[in-house]
Point group: C2
Chain length 294, copies 2
Protein backbone atom coordinates (compact mmCIF):
# COMPACT_ATOMS: atom_id res chain seq x y z
CA UNK A 1 0.00 0.00 0.00
CA UNK A 2 1.36 3.47 -0.86
CA UNK A 3 1.46 6.07 1.92
CA UNK A 4 -1.29 7.95 0.09
CA UNK A 5 -3.58 4.94 0.14
CA UNK A 6 -2.66 4.26 3.75
CA UNK A 7 -3.60 7.81 4.76
CA UNK A 8 -6.90 7.55 2.87
CA UNK A 9 -7.69 4.40 4.83
CA UNK A 10 -6.79 6.17 8.11
CA UNK A 11 -9.03 9.11 7.19
CA UNK A 12 -11.86 6.59 6.77
CA UNK A 13 -11.24 5.31 10.30
CA UNK A 14 -11.43 8.90 11.59
CA UNK A 15 -14.62 9.54 9.60
CA UNK A 16 -16.24 6.48 11.18
CA UNK A 17 -15.38 7.79 14.65
CA UNK A 18 -16.72 11.27 13.81
CA UNK A 19 -19.89 9.60 12.53
CA UNK A 20 -20.34 8.06 16.01
CA UNK A 21 -19.81 11.30 17.92
CA UNK A 22 -21.59 13.96 15.89
CA UNK A 23 -25.40 13.83 16.25
CA UNK A 24 -27.22 12.64 13.11
CA UNK A 25 -29.11 15.17 10.99
CA UNK A 26 -32.34 13.63 12.27
CA UNK A 27 -31.51 14.56 15.88
CA UNK A 28 -33.26 17.78 16.96
CA UNK A 29 -32.54 20.59 16.43
CA UNK A 30 -31.82 19.27 12.92
CA UNK A 31 -30.49 22.38 11.25
CA UNK A 32 -27.45 22.80 13.44
CA UNK A 33 -26.50 19.16 13.07
CA UNK A 34 -26.85 19.56 9.30
CA UNK A 35 -24.57 22.61 9.38
CA UNK A 36 -22.00 20.86 11.58
CA UNK A 37 -21.96 17.80 9.33
CA UNK A 38 -21.87 19.85 6.12
CA UNK A 39 -18.57 21.39 7.16
CA UNK A 40 -17.20 18.32 8.90
CA UNK A 41 -17.83 15.83 6.11
CA UNK A 42 -16.49 17.86 3.21
CA UNK A 43 -13.66 15.58 2.10
CA UNK A 44 -11.03 16.84 4.54
CA UNK A 45 -7.83 14.81 4.80
CA UNK A 46 -8.11 14.48 8.60
CA UNK A 47 -4.42 15.33 8.92
CA UNK A 48 -4.62 16.24 12.63
CA UNK A 49 -6.47 13.10 13.80
CA UNK A 50 -4.21 10.96 11.62
CA UNK A 51 -1.14 12.55 13.24
CA UNK A 52 -2.70 11.75 16.64
CA UNK A 53 -3.17 8.11 15.59
CA UNK A 54 0.36 7.78 14.21
CA UNK A 55 1.87 9.31 17.35
CA UNK A 56 -0.05 6.85 19.52
CA UNK A 57 1.11 3.98 17.27
CA UNK A 58 4.74 5.07 17.44
CA UNK A 59 4.47 4.89 21.24
CA UNK A 60 2.35 1.79 21.83
CA UNK A 61 1.03 0.22 18.61
CA UNK A 62 -2.75 -0.02 18.29
CA UNK A 63 -4.53 1.54 21.28
CA UNK A 64 -8.30 1.08 21.77
CA UNK A 65 -10.43 4.21 21.38
CA UNK A 66 -7.63 6.33 19.91
CA UNK A 67 -9.70 7.33 16.86
CA UNK A 68 -12.45 8.63 19.16
CA UNK A 69 -10.11 10.95 21.03
CA UNK A 70 -8.43 11.94 17.74
CA UNK A 71 -11.78 13.29 16.49
CA UNK A 72 -11.55 16.15 18.97
CA UNK A 73 -8.81 17.72 16.81
CA UNK A 74 -10.94 17.62 13.66
CA UNK A 75 -13.85 19.17 15.56
CA UNK A 76 -11.63 22.07 16.67
CA UNK A 77 -10.08 22.46 13.22
CA UNK A 78 -13.50 22.52 11.52
CA UNK A 79 -14.98 25.03 13.97
CA UNK A 80 -12.01 27.33 13.30
CA UNK A 81 -12.55 27.08 9.53
CA UNK A 82 -16.27 27.90 9.84
CA UNK A 83 -15.60 30.96 12.00
CA UNK A 84 -12.59 32.10 9.92
CA UNK A 85 -14.70 32.02 6.76
CA UNK A 86 -17.38 34.35 8.21
CA UNK A 87 -17.87 37.76 6.55
CA UNK A 88 -16.47 39.53 9.62
CA UNK A 89 -13.23 37.53 9.38
CA UNK A 90 -11.82 36.18 6.09
CA UNK A 91 -15.15 36.53 4.24
CA UNK A 92 -14.59 33.43 2.13
CA UNK A 93 -17.32 31.95 -0.07
CA UNK A 94 -15.48 28.78 -1.03
CA UNK A 95 -13.94 26.02 1.07
CA UNK A 96 -12.81 22.62 -0.15
CA UNK A 97 -14.49 23.42 -3.46
CA UNK A 98 -17.93 24.03 -1.92
CA UNK A 99 -19.83 27.08 -0.65
CA UNK A 100 -18.81 27.89 2.94
CA UNK A 101 -21.06 27.05 5.90
CA UNK A 102 -22.55 30.55 6.28
CA UNK A 103 -23.29 30.70 2.54
CA UNK A 104 -25.47 27.60 2.86
CA UNK A 105 -26.93 27.86 6.38
CA UNK A 106 -26.71 31.59 7.10
CA UNK A 107 -24.40 33.45 9.45
CA UNK A 108 -26.30 32.77 12.67
CA UNK A 109 -26.26 29.02 12.14
CA UNK A 110 -22.58 29.08 11.09
CA UNK A 111 -21.59 30.89 14.29
CA UNK A 112 -23.58 28.42 16.42
CA UNK A 113 -22.32 25.38 14.46
CA UNK A 114 -18.75 26.50 15.15
CA UNK A 115 -19.54 26.96 18.85
CA UNK A 116 -21.13 23.51 18.93
CA UNK A 117 -18.16 21.76 17.30
CA UNK A 118 -15.80 23.46 19.75
CA UNK A 119 -17.95 22.34 22.69
CA UNK A 120 -18.30 18.80 21.33
CA UNK A 121 -14.50 18.45 21.07
CA UNK A 122 -14.24 18.54 24.86
CA UNK A 123 -17.24 16.28 25.38
CA UNK A 124 -15.62 13.67 23.12
CA UNK A 125 -12.47 13.69 25.26
CA UNK A 126 -14.39 13.61 28.54
CA UNK A 127 -16.50 10.63 27.48
CA UNK A 128 -13.69 8.42 26.19
CA UNK A 129 -14.02 5.31 28.34
CA UNK A 130 -10.86 3.57 27.07
CA UNK A 131 -8.37 5.59 29.11
CA UNK A 132 -8.34 6.70 32.75
CA UNK A 133 -9.51 10.12 33.92
CA UNK A 134 -5.93 11.31 34.45
CA UNK A 135 -5.05 10.92 30.78
CA UNK A 136 -8.38 12.38 29.68
CA UNK A 137 -7.78 15.51 31.73
CA UNK A 138 -4.28 15.91 30.27
CA UNK A 139 -5.86 15.75 26.80
CA UNK A 140 -8.43 18.43 27.71
CA UNK A 141 -5.61 20.58 28.98
CA UNK A 142 -3.46 20.14 25.84
CA UNK A 143 -6.38 20.82 23.51
CA UNK A 144 -7.66 23.88 25.35
CA UNK A 145 -4.19 25.43 25.61
CA UNK A 146 -3.36 24.77 21.94
CA UNK A 147 -6.70 26.28 20.88
CA UNK A 148 -6.53 29.31 23.17
CA UNK A 149 -5.28 32.90 23.08
CA UNK A 150 -1.82 32.60 24.64
CA UNK A 151 0.42 30.93 22.05
CA UNK A 152 -2.58 28.98 20.73
CA UNK A 153 -4.77 28.99 17.64
CA UNK A 154 -7.05 31.90 18.55
CA UNK A 155 -4.06 34.02 19.54
CA UNK A 156 -2.49 33.32 16.14
CA UNK A 157 -5.70 34.24 14.39
CA UNK A 158 -5.79 37.57 16.23
CA UNK A 159 -2.15 38.28 15.36
CA UNK A 160 -2.89 37.39 11.76
CA UNK A 161 -5.83 39.85 11.55
CA UNK A 162 -3.88 42.59 13.30
CA UNK A 163 -0.76 41.87 11.22
CA UNK A 164 -2.52 42.72 7.93
CA UNK A 165 -0.82 45.74 6.45
CA UNK A 166 2.04 45.68 9.00
CA UNK A 167 5.68 45.42 7.89
CA UNK A 168 6.25 41.72 7.10
CA UNK A 169 9.11 40.85 9.44
CA UNK A 170 10.44 37.34 9.97
CA UNK A 171 9.66 37.48 13.71
CA UNK A 172 6.03 38.49 13.23
CA UNK A 173 5.59 35.82 10.57
CA UNK A 174 6.93 33.02 12.71
CA UNK A 175 5.02 34.07 15.83
CA UNK A 176 1.75 34.14 13.86
CA UNK A 177 2.20 30.71 12.41
CA UNK A 178 3.57 28.97 15.45
CA UNK A 179 0.31 29.88 17.11
CA UNK A 180 -2.22 29.91 14.28
CA UNK A 181 -1.55 26.53 12.70
CA UNK A 182 1.46 25.23 14.61
CA UNK A 183 -0.05 24.88 18.06
CA UNK A 184 -2.86 22.55 16.99
CA UNK A 185 -0.60 20.39 14.78
CA UNK A 186 1.87 20.07 17.64
CA UNK A 187 -1.00 19.23 20.00
CA UNK A 188 -2.14 16.48 17.61
CA UNK A 189 1.17 14.69 18.12
CA UNK A 190 1.35 15.38 21.84
CA UNK A 191 -2.20 14.21 22.46
CA UNK A 192 -1.61 10.97 20.56
CA UNK A 193 1.52 10.42 22.61
CA UNK A 194 -0.25 11.11 25.91
CA UNK A 195 -3.19 8.91 24.92
CA UNK A 196 -0.79 5.99 24.41
CA UNK A 197 1.10 6.62 27.65
CA UNK A 198 4.33 8.09 26.22
CA UNK A 199 7.36 8.65 28.44
CA UNK A 200 8.98 12.10 28.57
CA UNK A 201 11.53 11.35 25.84
CA UNK A 202 8.85 10.12 23.45
CA UNK A 203 6.56 13.05 24.25
CA UNK A 204 9.25 15.63 23.57
CA UNK A 205 10.38 13.88 20.37
CA UNK A 206 6.82 13.98 19.03
CA UNK A 207 6.41 17.61 20.16
CA UNK A 208 9.56 18.52 18.25
CA UNK A 209 8.42 16.63 15.14
CA UNK A 210 5.07 18.42 15.42
CA UNK A 211 6.65 21.87 15.59
CA UNK A 212 8.72 21.27 12.47
CA UNK A 213 5.98 19.77 10.32
CA UNK A 214 3.70 22.55 11.55
CA UNK A 215 6.04 25.18 10.21
CA UNK A 216 6.62 23.17 7.01
CA UNK A 217 2.86 22.90 6.55
CA UNK A 218 2.37 26.65 6.81
CA UNK A 219 5.29 27.53 4.53
CA UNK A 220 3.88 25.18 1.86
CA UNK A 221 0.38 26.62 2.38
CA UNK A 222 1.70 30.12 1.72
CA UNK A 223 3.63 28.89 -1.36
CA UNK A 224 0.56 27.15 -2.78
CA UNK A 225 -1.54 30.29 -2.34
CA UNK A 226 0.90 32.01 -4.73
CA UNK A 227 1.66 29.17 -7.16
CA UNK A 228 -1.66 27.33 -7.54
CA UNK A 229 -5.10 28.11 -8.99
CA UNK A 230 -8.30 28.31 -6.93
CA UNK A 231 -9.53 25.24 -8.78
CA UNK A 232 -6.54 23.13 -7.73
CA UNK A 233 -6.75 24.33 -4.11
CA UNK A 234 -10.54 24.07 -3.75
CA UNK A 235 -10.43 27.51 -2.13
CA UNK A 236 -9.80 31.06 -3.31
CA UNK A 237 -6.11 31.38 -4.35
CA UNK A 238 -4.11 34.59 -4.16
CA UNK A 239 -6.08 35.91 -1.18
CA UNK A 240 -2.99 36.37 0.98
CA UNK A 241 -1.45 38.97 -1.34
CA UNK A 242 -4.82 40.58 -1.91
CA UNK A 243 -5.32 41.00 1.86
CA UNK A 244 -1.68 42.03 2.40
CA UNK A 245 -1.14 39.07 4.72
CA UNK A 246 2.32 38.36 6.05
CA UNK A 247 3.45 35.16 4.33
CA UNK A 248 6.71 33.24 3.89
CA UNK A 249 6.96 34.09 0.16
CA UNK A 250 6.35 37.77 1.01
CA UNK A 251 9.17 37.79 3.57
CA UNK A 252 11.69 35.37 2.03
CA UNK A 253 10.68 35.00 -1.62
CA UNK A 254 9.53 31.76 -3.22
CA UNK A 255 12.89 30.06 -3.68
CA UNK A 256 14.04 30.51 -0.13
CA UNK A 257 10.61 29.49 1.17
CA UNK A 258 10.93 26.18 -0.69
CA UNK A 259 14.34 25.64 0.90
CA UNK A 260 12.98 26.44 4.35
CA UNK A 261 10.20 23.88 3.97
CA UNK A 262 12.85 21.28 3.04
CA UNK A 263 14.85 22.12 6.13
CA UNK A 264 11.84 21.80 8.41
CA UNK A 265 11.11 18.40 6.88
CA UNK A 266 14.65 17.24 7.71
CA UNK A 267 14.40 18.45 11.31
CA UNK A 268 11.06 16.70 11.67
CA UNK A 269 12.41 13.37 10.40
CA UNK A 270 15.45 13.70 12.63
CA UNK A 271 13.27 14.07 15.75
CA UNK A 272 11.80 10.62 15.08
CA UNK A 273 15.15 8.81 15.54
CA UNK A 274 14.18 7.87 19.10
CA UNK A 275 11.48 5.54 17.72
CA UNK A 276 13.98 3.27 15.91
CA UNK A 277 11.95 2.89 12.73
CA UNK A 278 8.59 2.52 14.52
CA UNK A 279 7.53 5.92 13.15
CA UNK A 280 7.89 5.25 9.43
CA UNK A 281 4.47 6.66 8.62
CA UNK A 282 5.28 9.91 10.39
CA UNK A 283 8.48 10.18 8.29
CA UNK A 284 6.48 9.76 5.12
CA UNK A 285 3.84 12.25 6.27
CA UNK A 286 6.58 14.88 6.63
CA UNK A 287 7.51 14.21 2.99
CA UNK A 288 3.92 14.44 1.84
CA UNK A 289 3.36 17.75 3.64
CA UNK A 290 6.28 19.32 1.81
CA UNK A 291 5.54 17.74 -1.59
CA UNK A 292 1.76 18.32 -1.68
CA UNK A 293 0.26 20.42 -4.45
CA UNK A 294 -3.07 21.31 -2.81
CA UNK B 1 -25.89 40.32 56.55
CA UNK B 2 -28.87 40.40 54.16
CA UNK B 3 -28.97 37.78 51.39
CA UNK B 4 -28.36 40.60 48.90
CA UNK B 5 -25.17 41.66 50.65
CA UNK B 6 -24.13 38.02 51.01
CA UNK B 7 -24.54 37.45 47.28
CA UNK B 8 -22.58 40.59 46.47
CA UNK B 9 -19.74 39.29 48.64
CA UNK B 10 -19.89 35.93 46.85
CA UNK B 11 -19.78 37.66 43.45
CA UNK B 12 -16.59 39.36 44.62
CA UNK B 13 -15.06 35.95 45.40
CA UNK B 14 -15.96 34.79 41.89
CA UNK B 15 -14.52 37.96 40.36
CA UNK B 16 -11.23 37.37 42.15
CA UNK B 17 -11.06 33.84 40.73
CA UNK B 18 -11.89 35.08 37.21
CA UNK B 19 -9.14 37.67 37.62
CA UNK B 20 -6.67 34.81 38.21
CA UNK B 21 -7.75 32.77 35.19
CA UNK B 22 -8.35 35.31 32.44
CA UNK B 23 -5.11 36.68 30.93
CA UNK B 24 -4.42 40.32 31.80
CA UNK B 25 -4.90 42.99 29.13
CA UNK B 26 -1.12 43.33 28.96
CA UNK B 27 -0.70 39.69 27.84
CA UNK B 28 -0.31 39.41 24.06
CA UNK B 29 -2.34 39.48 21.93
CA UNK B 30 -3.76 42.33 24.02
CA UNK B 31 -6.89 43.14 22.04
CA UNK B 32 -8.60 39.83 22.54
CA UNK B 33 -7.89 39.84 26.26
CA UNK B 34 -9.33 43.36 26.40
CA UNK B 35 -12.46 42.19 24.59
CA UNK B 36 -12.84 39.14 26.85
CA UNK B 37 -12.44 41.25 29.98
CA UNK B 38 -14.73 44.00 28.72
CA UNK B 39 -17.63 41.56 28.52
CA UNK B 40 -16.65 39.48 31.53
CA UNK B 41 -16.17 42.32 34.00
CA UNK B 42 -19.33 44.26 33.23
CA UNK B 43 -21.04 44.07 36.58
CA UNK B 44 -22.69 40.67 36.13
CA UNK B 45 -24.23 39.10 39.25
CA UNK B 46 -22.31 35.81 38.74
CA UNK B 47 -25.49 33.88 39.45
CA UNK B 48 -24.22 30.60 37.91
CA UNK B 49 -20.88 30.48 39.76
CA UNK B 50 -22.63 31.49 42.99
CA UNK B 51 -25.11 28.62 42.54
CA UNK B 52 -22.11 26.30 42.03
CA UNK B 53 -20.56 27.56 45.27
CA UNK B 54 -23.79 27.23 47.26
CA UNK B 55 -24.39 23.70 45.94
CA UNK B 56 -20.89 22.69 46.99
CA UNK B 57 -21.45 24.27 50.42
CA UNK B 58 -24.77 22.46 50.93
CA UNK B 59 -22.91 19.19 50.30
CA UNK B 60 -19.60 19.72 52.10
CA UNK B 61 -19.17 23.21 53.54
CA UNK B 62 -16.18 25.19 52.27
CA UNK B 63 -14.23 23.26 49.61
CA UNK B 64 -10.83 24.50 48.41
CA UNK B 65 -10.67 25.71 44.79
CA UNK B 66 -14.45 25.72 44.30
CA UNK B 67 -14.49 29.34 43.08
CA UNK B 68 -11.93 28.49 40.40
CA UNK B 69 -14.06 25.70 38.95
CA UNK B 70 -17.19 27.85 39.32
CA UNK B 71 -15.62 30.42 36.95
CA UNK B 72 -16.06 28.02 34.05
CA UNK B 73 -19.82 28.69 34.16
CA UNK B 74 -19.38 32.45 33.91
CA UNK B 75 -16.96 32.02 31.00
CA UNK B 76 -19.56 29.94 29.12
CA UNK B 77 -22.37 32.33 30.00
CA UNK B 78 -20.38 35.36 28.84
CA UNK B 79 -19.31 33.75 25.55
CA UNK B 80 -22.96 32.97 24.84
CA UNK B 81 -23.97 36.59 25.49
CA UNK B 82 -21.25 37.94 23.17
CA UNK B 83 -22.24 35.61 20.33
CA UNK B 84 -26.00 36.11 20.90
CA UNK B 85 -25.57 39.88 20.66
CA UNK B 86 -23.87 39.69 17.22
CA UNK B 87 -25.67 41.30 14.25
CA UNK B 88 -26.32 37.87 12.70
CA UNK B 89 -28.10 36.71 15.86
CA UNK B 90 -29.99 39.07 18.22
CA UNK B 91 -28.26 42.19 16.86
CA UNK B 92 -28.17 43.91 20.22
CA UNK B 93 -26.24 47.14 20.80
CA UNK B 94 -26.68 47.31 24.55
CA UNK B 95 -25.86 44.81 27.31
CA UNK B 96 -25.75 45.51 31.03
CA UNK B 97 -26.09 49.20 30.20
CA UNK B 98 -22.99 49.32 27.98
CA UNK B 99 -22.33 48.93 24.24
CA UNK B 100 -22.03 45.23 23.33
CA UNK B 101 -18.65 43.62 22.64
CA UNK B 102 -18.86 43.82 18.84
CA UNK B 103 -19.86 47.49 19.04
CA UNK B 104 -16.62 48.27 20.87
CA UNK B 105 -14.13 45.76 19.44
CA UNK B 106 -15.66 44.90 16.05
CA UNK B 107 -17.38 41.72 14.94
CA UNK B 108 -14.24 39.71 14.21
CA UNK B 109 -12.83 40.27 17.68
CA UNK B 110 -16.21 39.58 19.32
CA UNK B 111 -16.49 36.22 17.55
CA UNK B 112 -12.96 35.28 18.58
CA UNK B 113 -13.40 36.55 22.16
CA UNK B 114 -16.46 34.32 22.49
CA UNK B 115 -14.53 31.35 21.13
CA UNK B 116 -11.69 32.10 23.56
CA UNK B 117 -13.96 32.29 26.62
CA UNK B 118 -15.58 28.99 25.63
CA UNK B 119 -12.18 27.35 25.25
CA UNK B 120 -10.89 28.82 28.52
CA UNK B 121 -13.86 27.37 30.43
CA UNK B 122 -12.57 23.86 29.80
CA UNK B 123 -8.96 24.81 30.50
CA UNK B 124 -10.01 26.19 33.89
CA UNK B 125 -11.65 22.87 34.80
CA UNK B 126 -8.73 20.79 33.52
CA UNK B 127 -6.17 22.77 35.49
CA UNK B 128 -7.96 22.74 38.86
CA UNK B 129 -5.44 21.05 41.12
CA UNK B 130 -7.71 20.83 44.20
CA UNK B 131 -9.75 17.83 43.07
CA UNK B 132 -8.78 14.54 41.45
CA UNK B 133 -8.88 13.92 37.71
CA UNK B 134 -12.03 11.80 38.01
CA UNK B 135 -14.07 14.71 39.35
CA UNK B 136 -12.51 17.15 36.88
CA UNK B 137 -13.54 14.94 33.96
CA UNK B 138 -17.10 14.69 35.28
CA UNK B 139 -17.20 18.49 35.38
CA UNK B 140 -15.96 18.73 31.78
CA UNK B 141 -18.66 16.28 30.78
CA UNK B 142 -21.44 18.15 32.61
CA UNK B 143 -20.39 21.52 31.20
CA UNK B 144 -19.96 20.34 27.61
CA UNK B 145 -23.31 18.53 27.61
CA UNK B 146 -25.18 21.45 29.17
CA UNK B 147 -23.62 23.85 26.63
CA UNK B 148 -24.18 21.64 23.58
CA UNK B 149 -26.79 21.06 20.90
CA UNK B 150 -28.78 18.13 22.32
CA UNK B 151 -30.87 19.51 25.19
CA UNK B 152 -28.16 22.07 25.92
CA UNK B 153 -27.69 25.82 25.57
CA UNK B 154 -26.79 25.94 21.86
CA UNK B 155 -29.71 23.65 21.02
CA UNK B 156 -32.03 26.00 22.88
CA UNK B 157 -30.61 28.98 21.04
CA UNK B 158 -31.26 27.26 17.69
CA UNK B 159 -34.83 26.42 18.72
CA UNK B 160 -35.32 30.00 19.83
CA UNK B 161 -34.15 31.41 16.46
CA UNK B 162 -36.22 28.91 14.50
CA UNK B 163 -39.23 29.41 16.78
CA UNK B 164 -39.55 33.10 15.87
CA UNK B 165 -42.85 33.59 14.11
CA UNK B 166 -44.06 30.03 14.88
CA UNK B 167 -47.29 29.42 16.80
CA UNK B 168 -46.42 29.96 20.50
CA UNK B 169 -47.36 26.60 22.03
CA UNK B 170 -46.64 25.63 25.63
CA UNK B 171 -44.55 22.64 24.52
CA UNK B 172 -42.31 24.65 22.21
CA UNK B 173 -41.86 27.32 24.88
CA UNK B 174 -40.82 24.89 27.59
CA UNK B 175 -38.47 22.92 25.32
CA UNK B 176 -36.70 26.13 24.25
CA UNK B 177 -36.14 27.35 27.77
CA UNK B 178 -35.24 24.05 29.36
CA UNK B 179 -32.35 23.99 26.92
CA UNK B 180 -31.49 27.66 26.35
CA UNK B 181 -31.18 28.87 29.93
CA UNK B 182 -32.23 25.87 32.00
CA UNK B 183 -29.44 23.46 31.10
CA UNK B 184 -26.62 25.74 32.23
CA UNK B 185 -28.38 26.77 35.45
CA UNK B 186 -29.04 23.12 36.27
CA UNK B 187 -25.40 22.31 35.44
CA UNK B 188 -24.26 25.05 37.84
CA UNK B 189 -25.89 23.17 40.73
CA UNK B 190 -24.82 19.73 39.52
CA UNK B 191 -21.23 20.79 39.02
CA UNK B 192 -21.02 22.34 42.48
CA UNK B 193 -22.44 19.11 43.91
CA UNK B 194 -19.98 16.93 41.98
CA UNK B 195 -17.08 19.20 42.93
CA UNK B 196 -17.89 18.66 46.61
CA UNK B 197 -18.35 14.89 46.26
CA UNK B 198 -22.16 14.70 46.52
CA UNK B 199 -23.91 11.35 46.86
CA UNK B 200 -26.67 10.40 44.40
CA UNK B 201 -29.49 11.73 46.58
CA UNK B 202 -27.79 15.11 47.02
CA UNK B 203 -26.96 15.33 43.33
CA UNK B 204 -30.51 14.68 42.22
CA UNK B 205 -31.96 17.07 44.82
CA UNK B 206 -29.71 19.86 43.51
CA UNK B 207 -30.53 18.93 39.88
CA UNK B 208 -34.22 19.20 40.69
CA UNK B 209 -33.75 22.54 42.46
CA UNK B 210 -31.76 23.73 39.42
CA UNK B 211 -34.49 22.78 36.97
CA UNK B 212 -37.14 24.66 38.90
CA UNK B 213 -35.17 27.84 39.49
CA UNK B 214 -34.07 27.68 35.84
CA UNK B 215 -37.66 27.76 34.68
CA UNK B 216 -38.55 30.43 37.27
CA UNK B 217 -35.61 32.53 36.07
CA UNK B 218 -36.78 32.40 32.46
CA UNK B 219 -40.43 33.12 33.26
CA UNK B 220 -39.36 36.19 35.25
CA UNK B 221 -36.99 37.26 32.44
CA UNK B 222 -39.86 37.16 29.97
CA UNK B 223 -42.12 39.08 32.37
CA UNK B 224 -39.49 41.77 32.95
CA UNK B 225 -39.02 42.23 29.19
CA UNK B 226 -42.71 43.24 29.05
CA UNK B 227 -43.02 45.15 32.33
CA UNK B 228 -39.74 47.01 32.68
CA UNK B 229 -37.93 49.80 30.84
CA UNK B 230 -34.61 49.41 29.00
CA UNK B 231 -33.07 51.71 31.58
CA UNK B 232 -34.07 49.50 34.51
CA UNK B 233 -32.93 46.33 32.72
CA UNK B 234 -29.66 47.69 31.33
CA UNK B 235 -30.60 46.09 28.00
CA UNK B 236 -33.17 46.78 25.31
CA UNK B 237 -36.66 46.03 26.70
CA UNK B 238 -39.60 44.88 24.61
CA UNK B 239 -37.39 43.04 22.10
CA UNK B 240 -39.20 39.73 22.58
CA UNK B 241 -42.51 41.03 21.28
CA UNK B 242 -40.77 43.01 18.55
CA UNK B 243 -39.00 39.84 17.32
CA UNK B 244 -42.14 37.70 17.78
CA UNK B 245 -40.33 35.46 20.26
CA UNK B 246 -42.22 32.75 22.06
CA UNK B 247 -42.42 33.88 25.70
CA UNK B 248 -44.33 32.89 28.82
CA UNK B 249 -46.44 36.09 28.82
CA UNK B 250 -47.23 35.48 25.12
CA UNK B 251 -48.44 31.93 25.80
CA UNK B 252 -50.01 32.26 29.27
CA UNK B 253 -50.57 35.97 29.82
CA UNK B 254 -48.85 38.03 32.54
CA UNK B 255 -50.98 37.00 35.51
CA UNK B 256 -50.63 33.27 34.95
CA UNK B 257 -46.90 33.70 34.25
CA UNK B 258 -46.46 35.31 37.66
CA UNK B 259 -48.31 32.36 39.28
CA UNK B 260 -46.13 29.86 37.41
CA UNK B 261 -42.95 31.53 38.63
CA UNK B 262 -44.32 31.24 42.19
CA UNK B 263 -45.02 27.55 41.74
CA UNK B 264 -41.52 26.90 40.40
CA UNK B 265 -40.08 28.69 43.41
CA UNK B 266 -42.05 26.40 45.75
CA UNK B 267 -40.90 23.25 43.93
CA UNK B 268 -37.30 24.46 44.08
CA UNK B 269 -37.45 25.10 47.83
CA UNK B 270 -39.09 21.74 48.39
CA UNK B 271 -36.23 19.91 46.62
CA UNK B 272 -33.80 21.26 49.22
CA UNK B 273 -35.49 19.41 52.14
CA UNK B 274 -32.83 16.68 51.97
CA UNK B 275 -30.21 19.19 53.19
CA UNK B 276 -31.95 19.76 56.56
CA UNK B 277 -31.48 23.53 56.61
CA UNK B 278 -27.89 23.45 55.27
CA UNK B 279 -29.12 25.04 52.03
CA UNK B 280 -30.65 28.22 53.43
CA UNK B 281 -28.86 30.44 50.92
CA UNK B 282 -30.22 28.38 48.02
CA UNK B 283 -33.74 28.84 49.44
CA UNK B 284 -33.28 32.58 49.57
CA UNK B 285 -31.81 32.65 46.05
CA UNK B 286 -35.01 31.03 44.76
CA UNK B 287 -36.94 33.88 46.37
CA UNK B 288 -34.67 36.52 44.90
CA UNK B 289 -34.93 35.06 41.39
CA UNK B 290 -38.70 35.34 41.50
CA UNK B 291 -38.80 38.75 43.20
CA UNK B 292 -36.10 40.51 41.17
CA UNK B 293 -36.95 43.61 39.13
CA UNK B 294 -34.00 43.58 36.68
Amino acid sequence: MTISDYLKAQATVVDAALERWVPAESVLPSNIHKAMRYSLFAGGKRIRPVLFLEASRAVAGEVAGAADAACSLELIHTYSLIHDDLPALDNDDLRRGRPTCHKVFGEAMAILAGDALLTLAFQVLAENSHIDAGRRIRLVQELSTASGTVGGMIGGQVNDIEGEGQAPTAELLESIHRAKTGALLRASLRMGAIYAGANDEQLSALSCYGEHIGLAFQIVDDILDVEQSSEALGKTAGKDAQQHKITFPAVYGLERSHAMAEREREHARHALAVFDGRAQHLCEIADLIVNRTA
